[in-house]
């Protein structure tokens, strides 16, 4: 009786871990998709609305999305700062663990922070489309990886549980 409860427990734990890892794989494309959405909002506000960076950040921070806290922190710290790209970079490094993004994804966002607000509308248009293009590539790659590893992680979770149970019996 005890051994079957123990086996069930081990199996549940490894399955839970497997599903947890699979879930993490799913988060990256979700965040990348959300960044793409946020970029399109920024582009519209800046290119067509000529809104200030401060206003754009304030607007996005009120939306019910995962990235709202990132833009809220920028909005709050911007007032006393002298360099926007530093504020952006600092906010990225504070939030990077909760974004589930890879180093290359973060690098694209850092580069965007270095040009935001510094140039003309036309230059911004170019930078937004370039960033969207890079993020799309990263997104497609992330979707592929997710498809590839999600099932594997789930399967490995269940199978490793079974293996441990078998070895213990």
């Amino acid at each position: 009786m005890m051994s079957s409860i123990g086996s069930l427990l081990i199996l549940s734990v490894t399955t839970f871990f497997g599903f947890g890892i699979a879930n993490n794989y799913e988060k990256r494309p979700k965040y990348l998709r959300e960044w793409k959405y946020v970029l399109s909002v920024m582009e519209t506000e800046i290119i067509h609305g000529h809104s200030s960076i401060e206003h754009v950040c304030a607007k996005i921070s009120t939306q019910k999305i995962r990235l709202s806290s990132f833009f809220a922190s920028i909005k709050e710290t911007l007032l006393g700062e002298r360099n926007f790209s530093l504020v952006w970079e600092k906010a990225l490094s504070t939030h990077e663990t909760s974004f589930y993004l890879q180093e290359e994804d973060l690098e694209i966002l850092k580069q965007l922070g270095q040009v935001l607000g510094k140039y003309s509308i036309r230059e911004h248009q170019k930078h937004f489309s370039l960033t969207q293009h890079h993020l799309e590539e990263q997104y497609q790659q992330a979707v592929k990886e997710t498809e590839q590893y999600r099932k594997m992680a789930r399967g490995l979770g269940v199978l490793s549980g079974c293996l441990i149970v078998l070895l213990l019996i």
Partner: protein
């Protein structure tokens, strides 16, 4: 707006309220001008410092101020003006941008310098403002006098005039998000950052003004628009850069004969301390001591 090292140096000076200009040049010492006397301070201008000042002045949104940058200046909260110079990017015959900026001149907006206001009555006739131009070289305080006159016309009279101000460079009313930061009078409506020629027509159509106020008239478009305003029965109050009558006639062109009062301001220095009002027959109407 200024980097901390610059701020500390400037704040350690005596009589900081007399500062007229703060000039920053890459690789050269910080220059502070008080009463036309330059003073050089230790911090050397850097690209980073200039980028930071421009960033703060534009709220990190340079694209919103592109039209101003093309013209070589930015106006910040409080009515102060930042002159820009560096590498001009030209598209055809016109400047499309200044990038990178390597020289900054922060012109501090000054308080009114005129002690008494009785002279302003000489600009009125039968409850109407005579078409008036304030004339002077750069740094003579034209904009300050114009602002003071506008406030007086709008406020201080029993009924006050309905005044429409077209503030192309945001220097007169120093609007921030559409609201004047400087007092330009209770009956004054401000059209901020609009080209003068278009703004004059728009305000005449929409706000039925008795007086149109514009700064720095230059070029045929401006003078034609002001002539249209005079033709519509609206009084004109404006400023222009000139040192003498010849320069003034050149600046105003065909508008010159329509002007009825000319307020000549001297360059700010110790030797000249009075403004002179002339009427259109070149006769002196009044001479006023300045502070």
């Amino acid at each position: 707006m200024l980097p901390p090292s610059y701020k500390e140096e400037i704040e350690s000076l005596e009589n900081i309220d007399e500062i007229q200009e703060i000039r920053i040049r890459i690789g050269r010492p910080l220059e502070v001008v008080r009463r036309h006397v330059p003073l050089f301070l230790p911090p050397v201008g850097t690209r980073e410092a200039i980028d930071q000042i421009v960033g703060r002045a534009t709220h990190f949104s340079v694209y919103r101020f592109q039209d101003d940058i093309k013209k070589g200046f930015l106006t910040v909260k409080g009515g102060h003006r930042i002159g820009l110079s560096g590498e001009a990017v030209a598209t055809g015959e016109k400047i499309s941008n200044i990038e990178p900026v390597s020289f900054l001149n922060i012109r501090v907006a000054r308080e009114a310098r005129v002690r008494q206001q009785a002279w302003m009555e000489t600009l009125l006739s039968k409850r109407r403002l005579l078409n008036t131009v304030i004339v002077g070289p750069p740094y003579s305080g034209k904009t300050t006098i114009l602002r003071q006159l506008t406030k007086w016309l709008s406020d201080d009279r029993s009924a006050g005039f309905k005044v429409s101000m077209i503030d192309e460079r945001s220097e007169l009313a120093a609007c921030y998000q559409g609201l004047p930061q400087l007092d330009v009078g209770k009956r004054t409506d401000v059209l901020d950052r609009c080209p003068k020629s278009e703004g004059i027509s728009l305000m005449i159509r929409s706000m039925s003004p008795e007086v149109i106020v514009v700064d720095e008239v230059d070029g045929e478009e401006d003078t034609m628009a002001l002539k249209r305003a005079i033709g519509a029965g609206v009084s004109v109050l404006c400023t222009t850069h000139a040192d003498d009558w010849e320069g003034l006639e050149y600046r105003l062109g065909s508008l010159f004969p329509y002007m009825e009062r000319f307020v000549f301001l001297p360059r700010l220095n110790q030797n000249h301390r009075s403004l002179v009002i002339y009427q259109n027959t070149y006769e002196e109407v009044k001479r006023v001591d300045l502070l």
